[in-house]
Symmetry: C2
Subunit: 508 residues, 2 copies
């Protein structure tokens, strides 16, 4: 049936049909419709909503994401018919029943994920099934390859291409802002794609966005990397391994990160940018994804094995994940801290040491530094100002202001200082509470929002001494964070009462 | 935040916010918003879509299902805030990790299902987890009770209340149209709720709708049953065990019917109508849900055990499911066949015998007939015309025309007769192909569409003799079914070639 397309500015997937047309085509809400744009030969599968009045007969409303995929003009004609049941449903059922999935079958599933042929509930069943029944290394390799094949790739004429990835879970982990310029300053190429925060206070892409645009196509990422040696961009706009972006949506509510999905997700993104030398940062701690070092080593071996299968050299660094990296959490605060280090500050040690260690591993893997001398070389690239100069080039090539300084980065103008309720040693920083607080204050959407820590575990504080500051761009956000701050208790001082009636609890 | 409600006539769940409001509230697409209607104190959790233009700032668009739940006037003010994460997510994660769920936890999950607090992908993860990890009988009992508690119930002052259920998978299974009037004619009460076809050609509710309205509240079902002894209504409108309707939506694409979910779903509906004597029809066959008699017996024992826990007496009948019941598939065709039997026809035997057997079991359970004499008594209620008279009362009380006769039921006016391509014995009827064909012809939405079989397995047919007729209400639907009929080959005649070039294959 031919029908007139009408764009619906709704950030969703699918189409909206008048009930009369739906009945004529033979579909009801939730069914799949094949929509063909003969003007450009693009065809998509779309899920159907119906209406009695919002769309007239003879017109099909097309939601935002589906409209982008179809590339149809408002008022143009499209052809629609009831879509067949996707082949991947049988394959997902097979996985639910505990059977392994072959390489070709994995391709079918990933294709249906990328093309939105699978609905989110169907995708959720797939992810749940792989989470519960697990995936063999063959299946993980197949998934990685299928994720790469269904997206864009970079292809550099020369090697090595280096890359890094942190599996996450540690607030304040701004190390990419140091590692990428250090590596690029050494003459190596590092086309770093990164993510925005989903549950965190700031992803690397959120940080970089304080300084420059981060949304680029794969071709632009390649061209910029060729020009200045490195970039820090948002992976979501590159169309690199796009299946992963869909999978994350259904994993997110359960905070699951099925082992096989995580391995495939990370390595597909590295593989697709052409990286052949990769360092993986595995933070270990009570609030990270990996609770202890033994688990961390196991995961490391899996990353290394998957890398070997894909002809990539992988080294893993198991790092301390029980406290934030550096003293800041939130986009602008973290950027300011990283810039200070690039400008010459030797503090905070947790940030400097971690960044230099991981950069050093990459320099050694690439043969830029002798075994055991990577840290030192990374330190020289930092202290000489070469890394800062390189970072400014990266900012400029991405369209930001290369004259930026740590001093010039604006923070949230609404602040609240929390003082120590007792004298004593700081015994614990609660990562989850710190992140919740930063998010309540507006991070990551409000760039100026976040937390600055004035004391870290093991430090002595006196009663009334500032222990952290909350920053917010908007006053009501600060108020929200202040109200919750008492309940969340993100910083524990030894001897501090953990349970006492609220009116006695000294909060600021 | 207070915001003006605007109904969006879209048959979906959720709300649509202008991006500026979404940002102010602190939500993005897919997040949950709590929406409070102070006018009636109703509050719902709704998933967020965003738009730049379709909804202005200060207005919230409310999709159809959510609008019904909220009961808000267009232009009235509602209050909205970011909804907390539902407690059930942690519990579903627990089930995903293979741990059992307690009764209270099951209640939390089922509440969140019924209130739409869980998104469909989240619900899908729950159903997939119970499918893969299984459910203990304790968990199944808890789920049954929670499904009952979160919906409407009937409460009759007297016992017994009897009920029947077929677990499905057999086309043409119109037996409820005979069993309900037979049972009600015996003086017993049978408030039968039934389903519409999802993958089939006609559910019992679709059949009854040919004769009378089927959408009633639980109160109306009770009142009508009190008046005439029985009803045949659509369960979906009664708000009885509404969680099940949501669960079915996510099971449907995979054609899974997780054992625990099925047991809970069936028994919750029987329990909620107050039934204490129940017969369950378990059709066994290659294309039904239960492949062999041993599996059927196992399922029967589970139904009986669950019944005992709920203080219900359950008997199960394991029936033949490899061929359709009777000769017709599709709403009007099936109704006509059932009415003919009620009017005195002794054929088709498969329909008459199955109906009398199951009705007989119920008559014996209720003490209306002595053990071994139920079939006979059911036969008398049928042949005496008492069942027909009762059926007419049921049709009338539901608002249909009680003077209806088999003759007066209109069938699809577009027909196509398929003749035997060879002489021989009918060796197989393919249930799945028959259903597909009936659906292509327009069933169940088009009441007149379906298949009439002229020959059943074991019967001898001569070349050119009619083997089945396709009926359709609309010409293009008939054409669709005719085109697919050749490929689907729903009736196999012994000696018939199964694979030959299409131009040689004689189809009609």
């Amino acid at each position: 049936m031919k029908i007139m397309a009408k764009t619906l500015d709704i950030a969703d997937r699918g189409v909206l049909l008048n009930r009369i047309d739906a009945r004529n085509i033979g579909v009801v809400e939730g069914d799949r419709l094949q929509v063909m744009n003969h003007a450009n030969d693009r065809s998509v599968t779309a899920h159907v909503d119906t209406t009695g009045s919002m769309i007239e007969v003879g017109v099909i409303g097309i939601y935002g994401h589906t409209h982008c995929a179809l590339g149809v003009q408002d008022g143009a004609e499209v052809e629609v018919w009831e879509a067949p049941k996707p082949a991947s449903l049988e394959l997902i059922k097979k996985k639910m029943d505990g059977n392994p999935i072959t390489r070709d079958e994995t391709r079918v599933i990933v294709n249906d994920i990328v093309n939105d042929t699978l609905s989110l509930p169907e995708l959720s069943a797939y992810v749940t099934a792989t989470y519960i029944n697990g995936m063999s290394m063959d299946e993980i390799e197949d998934l990685t390859v299928a994720m790469v094949e269904t997206g864009s790739s970079l292809s550099f004429p020369t090697r090595p291409i280096v890359d890094k990835h942190s599996i996450g879970g540690v607030p304040g982990n701004k190390i990419s802002l140091l590692i990428v310029p250090i590596i690029a300053a050494s003459g190596l190429k590092i086309p770093k794609t990164s993510s925005r925060a989903i549950t965190g206070a700031a992803g690397t892409a959120d940080l970089m966005e304080v300084l420059a645009p981060v949304e680029f196509s794969a071709e632009e990422v390649q061209a910029m990397t060729d020009k200045v040696g490195g970039v820090i961009v948002w992976g979501g706009s590159t169309n690199i391994a796009p299946a992963d972006d869909r999978i994350i949506v259904v994993e997110y509510p359960f905070k699951i990160d099925a082992r096989g999905q995580m391995l495939a997700s990370v390595m597909a993104k590295k593989y697709a940018v052409g990286a052949n030398l990769v360092v993986i940062d595995i933070p270990v701690g009570r609030t990270t994804k990996i609770p202890d070092v033994a688990e961390g080593r196991k995961l490391a071996r899996e990353f290394i094995e998957l890398g070997e299968r894909l002809k990539m050299r992988v080294e893993c660094a198991i790092t301390y994940g029980d406290a934030p990296v550096g003293h800041t959490i939130g986009p602008a605060l973290e950027v300011k801290e990283a810039l200070r280090v690039l400008e010459g500050d030797a503090e905070p040690q947790s940030l400097v040491q971690k960044s230099l260690s991981l950069a050093g591993v990459l320099l050694e893997m690439a043969g830029k530094a002798a075994r055991g001398h990577g840290y030192e070389m990374a330190g020289e690239l930092l202290s000489s100002g070469k890394a800062l100069a390189k970072f400014r080039q990266i900012i400029e090539v991405q369209g930001g202001d290369p004259t930026v300084t740590a001093e010039s980065v604006p923070l949230g103008k609404h602040t609240f200082v929390v003082n120590a309720p007792e004298s004593g040693y700081v015994v614990e920083l609660n990562n989850r509470s710190l992140v919740s607080l930063a998010r309540l204050a507006g991070a990551p959407q409000d760039h100026g929002a976040g937390i600055e820590l004035h004391a870290k575990p093991g430090e002595r504080v006196d009663k009334g001494q500032p222990i952290f500051t909350i920053y917010a761009d908007r006053a009501w956000r600060l108020k929200l964070a202040m109200e919750e701050g008492r309940r969340l208790m993100p910083v524990l001082v030894e001897g501090m009462l953990l349970d006492r009636v609220p009116s006695e609890y000294q909060f600021g």
